[in-house]
């Protein structure tokens, strides 16, 4: 298993990927939008889903790419390993339940904010969107504020 890259080097690479997305696609990266795109196709239509019903397949193809890219990188670095990553004191079952619950909360938050760490925070942050910076501050503030309550899960 190879060690992870230097975070600044990885961040620079990620910034260049984002920049390429701005330049060649005219938009940033995304993740939650792909989930909303699929949800819009199984749910009855309403003003929230309409936006994603009308959206093109760009986001879904991009997320398929993320999965391929993640797989390739993990395979090349010898990090491809089935398992459940969790804190030292939690059972597999607790971890899976909390992963699902945390995912659901992020889904609700992303639906309200119209984006997640990729599309809103990263992409919008680089384009100096006011809403993106509000989202970044709110998310990290709550994450740090409530971290002591989740200590059992991670420490």
């Amino acid at each position: 298993m190879k060690p992870y890259s230097n975070p600044y080097a990885a961040g620079t690479a990620l910034g260049l990927v984002l920049l390429a997305s701005f330049a060649f696609a005219g938009r940033g990266l995304g993740a939650s939008g792909a989930f909303a795109w699929v949800a819009a196709r199984v749910a009855p239509t309403n003003p929230y889903f309409e936006r994603y019903l009308a959206a093109d397949t760009w986001l879904v193809v991009e997320i398929a790419g993320v999965i391929i890219g993640g797989f390739l990188s993990a395979a090349l670095a010898g990090r491809l390993r089935p398992g459940i990553d969790r804190g030292p004191r939690v059972t597999v079952k607790t971890r899976l339940v909390s992963a699902f619950a945390g995912g659901a909360a992020m889904g609700i938050g992303a639906a309200l904010a119209r984006g997640c760490t990729s599309g809103l925070a990263l992409s919008g942050g680089a384009l100096l969107s006011v809403g993106s910076w509000v989202f970044i501050c709110a998310a990290f503030a709550i994450g740090f504020a409530f971290a002591p309550l989740m200590r059992w899960a991670w420490r």
Partner: protein
């Protein structure tokens, strides 16, 4: 072609996230306990690189920054959504993008986060309420909020990053960026062309005159609105922004009081009596 780009960008995105170690939930959660700042280092480095890159590509005219989609601002939903998202991030230890990478590298917890994400978005979407669309500000940027040049805001962010990293080279980048000028491509419109647009009632035409109210009262272009600001006369037509070349003087000399009238300029001749 667009989908090949989407796939290529996605692959590169997933690859860099995995390289940084962001497919591992305990590593991500470490940030909240001050033991591992990989997420913040990667994220803010990427923001600074992409922001500065987009600024300079726009500045040299390689890209049209105005045509890049800026996520719209919905202040209260984003504040509330950010808070709920932050709690979910803490509990899950992964965010939506990184959960895909975790799942791709074989982690079951990544799959569980993805399933939860889907359930959350589906549930929240079904429970859609008017609150989702409150406090809408459109594509609103920090430079617009602060009434400061784009270059100065971008430079200040690079400077904050440079100071946090104690990196002198970045301080130089911050200064050069702050003095970099406007990243937006400016198109100019000739007074006579604008006159033709007004006569033919070009769809979506909007003329904003940012001179003072007193100057505006003295002489104005028909159909223009006054919003005192930097003194320029800007025109929006067919989704593109223009600056009127020569301002109100050029308009007066070349259209209203022109020595070489054309059918278009004749349309504005009655304005002469009003002295503009």
């Amino acid at each position: 072609m667009a989908l090949i780009i989407a796939l290529a960008i996605g692959i590169a995105f997933g690859f860099t996230l995995e390289r940084a170690g962001l497919g591992s939930a305990p590593k991500l959660a470490g940030q909240f306990y001050f033991t591992d700042f990989t997420v913040m280092k990667v994220m803010f480095t990427a923001i600074v690189v992409a922001m500065t890159g987009a600024f300079w590509l726009g500045r040299i005219g390689a890209i049209d920054l105005r045509s890049v989609f800026v996520p719209e601002t919905f202040l209260l939903p984003q504040l509330a959504g950010g808070a709920i998202f932050g709690a979910g991030f803490l509990i899950a230890g992964l965010c939506p993008g990184t959960s895909c990478v975790a799942a791709a590298s074989g982690r079951g917890d990544g799959v569980a986060v993805m399933a939860g994400m889907f359930a959350g978005i589906l549930g929240a979407g079904l429970a859609f309420s008017p609150f989702f669309a409150t406090t809408a500000f459109g594509a609103w940027t920090v430079p617009q909020l602060l009434h400061m040049p784009y270059a100065v805001v971008a430079g200040a962010i690079v400077l904050a990053f440079a100071v946090a990293l104690r990196e002198p080279i970045l301080i130089a980048v911050a200064l050069v960026t702050a003095l970099g000028g406007s990243p937006y491509r400016t198109h100019t419109v000739e007074p006579r062309e604008l006159a033709a647009w007004i006569v033919e009632k070009k769809p979506g035409l909007r003329i904003v005159d940012s001179r003072t109210a007193a100057e505006f009262a003295l002489a104005r272009i028909p159909r223009s609105e006054n919003r005192p600001g930097d003194g320029a006369i800007t025109v929006r037509a067919a989704g593109r922004d223009y600056v009127l070349r020569g301002g109100i003087e050029a308009w007066t000399n070349e259209v209203v009081k022109t020595q070489h009238p054309t059918p278009t300029t004749m349309y504005f001749a009655p304005l002469r009596r009003r002295g503009c």
